[in-house]
Symmetry: C2
Subunit: 206 residues, 2 copies
């Protein structure tokens, strides 16, 4: 199906706007728009307002760079968190993932990406200086790297590590190993090899 015969310019505009979103083709865009057309006008207005309001009013926490409704985010302003334990993540989604584990009581630093020369993203494009500033001011005892275990993630870890290593702080990274629930048979060799080398006391799992 091609899209040469829109019966309405308004329809065409809406479809074009939707299909600018990542992973949304013209066909899906049309389906979504026709769905919205069947909804009450105030439902569509609410959808539309949620987007402009988000874009116009959302802030980034001035401490950790996480998305926030105020100058300092909920996590950074929570006195029950350990503010001297800083977990470095790539993006907001990763903050949400770590929060969902309910295993972490420290704070975050959101880089806003990882170093990726292929995509033209260098250290200057990321929130690395602001992390160094937090550390330089003596605000952290430990920095945990929680970036993806990809080449880009490892490069970024290494870059930041070099910048931090002269400060008197502990620098850690997420444990690498076999995922919980994974079968040994299907675990890739590198992961398996590393998890043998970095084997841990079994009593720590009990």
């Amino acid at each position: 199906m091609t899209f040469d015969h829109f019966p309405s310019k308004l329809l065409e505009n809406a479809v074009n706007e939707f299909s600018k979103l990542p992973g949304i083709g013209k066909k899906t865009a049309l389906r979504l728009v026709l769905h919205l057309l069947k909804k009450e006008p105030d439902e569509v207005a609410r959808f539309s307002k949620a987007l402009t309001q988000l874009r116009d009013e959302v802030k980034h926490c001035r401490i950790c760079r996480n998305i926030s409704d105020s100058d300092v985010c909920n996590i950074c302003s929570n006195p029950a968190r350990d503010h001297r334990l800083v977990c470095v993540v790539e993006n907001i989604r990763d903050v949400m993932s770590v929060e969902n584990t309910q295993q972490y009581r420290g704070v975050y630093h959101v880089l806003g990406g990882i170093i990726s020369p292929m995509d033209g993203i260098g250290p200057a494009d990321l929130e690395i200086d602001s992390l160094l500033e937090r550390v330089s001011k003596g605000e952290a005892d430990e920095v945990i790297f929680a970036l993806s275990t990809t080449m880009e993630g490892d490069s970024t870890n290494f870059y930041i590590f070099k910048k931090l290593k002269d400060h008197k702080i502990k620098i850690t990274t997420l444990a690498r190993g076999v995922s919980i629930g994974d079968e040994i048979e299907y675990t890739d060799e590198i992961t398996l090899g590393r998890s043998i080398v970095n084997r841990m006391l079994f009593e720590n799992f009990m």
Copy 2:
């Protein structure tokens, strides 16, 4: 991943609104919203405006019920079309599909759905009366059924056929080049084009 830890209420609202759309889960919604967050505010405003404008301003053609920017759609107001040849389709997407074949020079009648007792859609919910009115007024020489070749499509064809058969018009249906069980929307243009050209008398199918 669960979604209990949104760092921002504005973000949460936008994700919730997106995930009301069909086929958009929370995860996709978050991806789309974070994409929009990276865009310029006026781009987001344009997206948002295209939707409200569509919902608030779009009309339905008073003749064929197709979506239109004016009271009478482009097709119904085009003097080059054959206005006495009326193709009955389920929805706007199907008008676009038939138009894309470039094989059809008549006009349309958009039912707005098909009879589907399972979904609680009966004849009264569709634009069947307005079709009968067009025919009663002597506005058509031929009515072509171009509904999906599913049980619901066939029931709808049959229901309309019973209502129309006493009028002195030709009643045809798409040639069965369309495979049984296929939806019009996903039929390739060549098959669809040919099946309009080779349309057959509906009574031959009973």
